[in-house]
C-alpha cells in the first residue's frame, strides 16, 4: 500500500507577502514552510504506516528549487522518499497547470492514495485535489477528519452539519484531510539525520513527458489585483461611566446613523 502526499511550500503564515510586478508571489528571500494544512496529510499518512495499514510514503511537490527544503522537512517527520517537480516553465502556475503536472507525476508514481491537505495557506484555491482526481479519472474523498484503508478501499470520516459521514471509494483514490486528523508530529533528531540520507529526486516537465507549450504559460487564470483589507475606523469605546449615561451615548450613536 503506497501513499503519495502532495505538499506545497508556502511563506510563513501571517508573513507580509510581496508580489512581483505581474502579481505573482515573490518567493525570493521569504521564509518558507510546509503548508500547515499539508502537515495534517503528512501526519495521516505516517499514522497509516505506523498502524501497518500502509507500507510507504512518498512526498511530491511542485515548486522552485528551494521547495526541496520543505520535502526534506517532511522526510524528517517520516516517510521514505520525495520528488520535486521543478521547471522554469512552471513559474506562476495556477491551479489548472498545477493539477495537470501533479496528475502526470502521480500517473508515474502510481500510488494507492494520493493524499493532500484541504487547502494551501497562500492561494486558498482548494481546487487542485479535485482537478487531479478528475484528470486521472479517480474518486475524490475530500475533507476527511480521518482516512482509513481496508480491503482495497479507502474511507474517510467527514464532519457534517449534524455529525459525521463515512464515505468510501475503491483504490486508487485522491483524498484530502482536515486539521481534525490530529496534531502533526515534530521531526525527531534521528528523523532529521535520517532525512539527509533519503532519496529526493528532481523531475522536469521533460521527465513527465509534458510539452511546456501545452501548459499555455502555466496558467489559464491570472491575478489582476491584490491588496490588504481596508482598515476599519477605530472602535469607539463607551466605558467607565454610569449606566444611564452609557445608554444615552449608545442611543445617540445609533440615532446618528439612523439605525434607530
Amino acid at each position: 500500500m503506497k501513499i503519495v502526499v502532495c505538499i506545497k511550500q508556502v511563506p510563513v503564515t501571517g508573513a507580509e507577502k510581496r508580489y512581483t510586478d505581474d502579481l505573482r508571489l515573490d518567493r525570493a528571500g521569504a521564509e518558507a514552510i510546509i503548508n500547515p494544512l499539508d502537515e495534517y496529510a503528512i501526519e495521516q499518512a505516517l499514522r497509516l504506516v505506523d498502524s501497518g495499514a500502509a507500507d510507504s510514503v512518498t512526498y511530491l511537490s511542485m515548486g522552485p528549487e528551494q521547495a526541496a527544503e520543505a520535502l526534506r522537512r517532511a522526510l524528517a517527520m517520516g516517510g521514505d522518499d520525495a520528488v520535486l517537480i521543478t521547471d522554469p516553465a512552471l513559474a506562476g502556475a495556477d491551479e489548472w497547470a498545477t493539477a495537470l503536472v501533479l496528475a502526470a507525476a502521480l500517473d508515474k508514481l502510481a500510488p494507492d492514495v494520493a493524499l493532500m491537505g484541504m487547502a494551501s495557506d497562500d492561494a486558498r484555491g482548494s481546487l487542485v485535489p479535485g482537478a487531479v482526481a478528475a484528470k486521472r479519472g479517480l474518486p475524490l474523498l475530500s475533507y476527511g477528519a480521518e482516512l482509513t484503508l481496508a480491503e482495497g478501499a479507502a474511507r474517510i470520516r467527514r464532519l457534517s452539519a449534524t455529525g459525521f459521514d463515512w464515505i468510501e471509494a475503491p483504490l486508487p483514490v485522491v483524498a484530502t484531510v482536515t486539521d481534525q486528523v490530529g496534531e502533526p508530529r515534530y521531526a525527531s533528531l534521528k528523523g532529521i539525520m535520517a532525512a539527509k540520507r533519503k532519496t529526493l529526486e528532481s523531475w522536469s516537465l521533460a521527465d513527465l513527458g509534458i510539452d511546456p507549450a501545452s501548459l499555455r504559460g502555466a496558467a489559464l487564470t491570472r491575478v489582476t489585483d491584490s491588496r490588504p483589507p481596508e482598515q476599519k475606523p477605530p472602535t469607539e469605546r463607551i466605558e467607565n461611566m454610569a449606566a444611564a449615561e452609557a445608554a444615552t451615548r449608545i442611543a445617540d450613536w445609533l440615532a446618528a446613523r439612523k439605525l434607530i
Binding site: 515534530y186 521531526a187 525527531s188 533528531l189 534521528k190 532529521i192 539525520m193
Partner: protein, 398 residues
Amino acid sequence: MTYLLTRDHDELRALVRELAEEKIAPRAAQIDQSAEFPWDLKELLAQQDLLGTCFPEQHGGTALDTISQSILVEELARADATTSLIPIVQKLGALPILIAGTDEQKARYSPRLASGEWLVAFALTEAAAGSDVASNRMSAVRDGDDYVLNGSKRFITHGSVANLLTVFALTDPAAGGRKGMSAFVVETDTPGFAAPRVEHKMGIRGSPTAELTFDDVRVPAANRLGNEGEGFKIAMATLDRSRLSIAAQAVGIAQGATDAALAYTAERRQFGERVVDFQGVQWMLADMASQTEAARQLTYAAAARVDAGASDMPYWTSSAKLVAGDIAMRVTTDAVQLLGGYGYISEYPVERMMRDAKITQLYEGTQQIQRMIIARQLLERAGVQKRPPHAGSTNARQ
C-alpha cells in the same frame, strides 16, 4: 583553534526552539510552582531523541558534537532551566561510564540511557564534602564478587527519579578521597538504597535534588568503573566536560531573560512612550544581549576544544562556566529591573529565571572552584611552580 556553526547546528537549534516554545515554555511556571519533576517533558525529549546526544550511534545515541549538545541545552534553558537539566544530568551521570567504562559496561547501560527509558544521576557530593571532593566518606568494601556500599550522598540532582547512579565511594579509606575512591554503577532498585528526602530550593524547582542513603547496598564488582582508586580521577574528568553544559544552561537562561525583557519593554508604555524607547533602557538591553553573546561564543569555543581533546580543555570549560554563570545572574537581575514591579511577580517569567540563574554559579563547581582551576592552568602555562601543600591541608584539588 576556530569553530564555525554549520547548517546542522542551525537545524538543531530550530528543532529544539520550536519544541521549547510550543511545549516547554508554557509548562515552565507550573513546574516551578509545583516543584514536580516534568515527566511529560522527559518523555517528549526522549521521543525526539534529545536525551541520547552524547551516546555513540551503535548504542542508540546520536553522538552529536559538543557545540550541538550546548545548543540543545541552551535552547531548552531559554524556555525552562529545570527541563534543560534532563539532558544535562543524563550526560553528567553517563560520562563516568563513557569515560571509564569497559565496552561491556557501555553496551549494558548506554542503550537505555540514550533512549531516555532510564534516567541516570551522578552521585559524588556528600553533606560534608562539597567543593572538597577528596574528603568524601562513603565506603565500598569488597566482599567476594560484590562491593558493599554504605554511607550517604547529598545534593544529588535527579537522585530520586533516576534508575541508575554513578556513585563514588572509598575502597581504601586510609588512602583518602584522592587515591582511595572508586566509581560504581548502581541500579536504584538495589536493596538498601533509598532517596529519603528532596531539598526545597530557590530555583530549578522541578528538578529533584535528593539525599541518598546506602545501607549495605551490594553491587557486583562488574559494576566498578575503572580500577580501584581511580574514582577521583574519573569524577574530575567528568566534571571537566560536564560543566560546559552548565555554561550552556546559563547562556540559555540569559537569552530567555533578554528576550522576555525586550518583548515586555517594547509593549509597556509609561509617560506616553514605549519603555523600550528610553535610551537608558536600550543601554541595558544592549549590555544584556552583548554579554549573553559573549558567554555563548566562549561556550562554543570551549566545546570545540572538548571535541578536539585539547590539553587545556579544563581551562576553557571552567572559563565558560564562570563567565556564563555570572552573566546569567547579571542579565536576569537586569531583566527583573526592566520589568519593574511586574518583574518581581510570578505572572512574568523573569523572576523565575533570576532564581534559576543563581544555581549556575554554584553547581558543578562553584565560581570560586572554577577560578582555582583556571588559575592552576594559568600558572602552569607561565611555568610558575606550584606551592607545596602544607601539612594537614585537604583542600588542594587534583
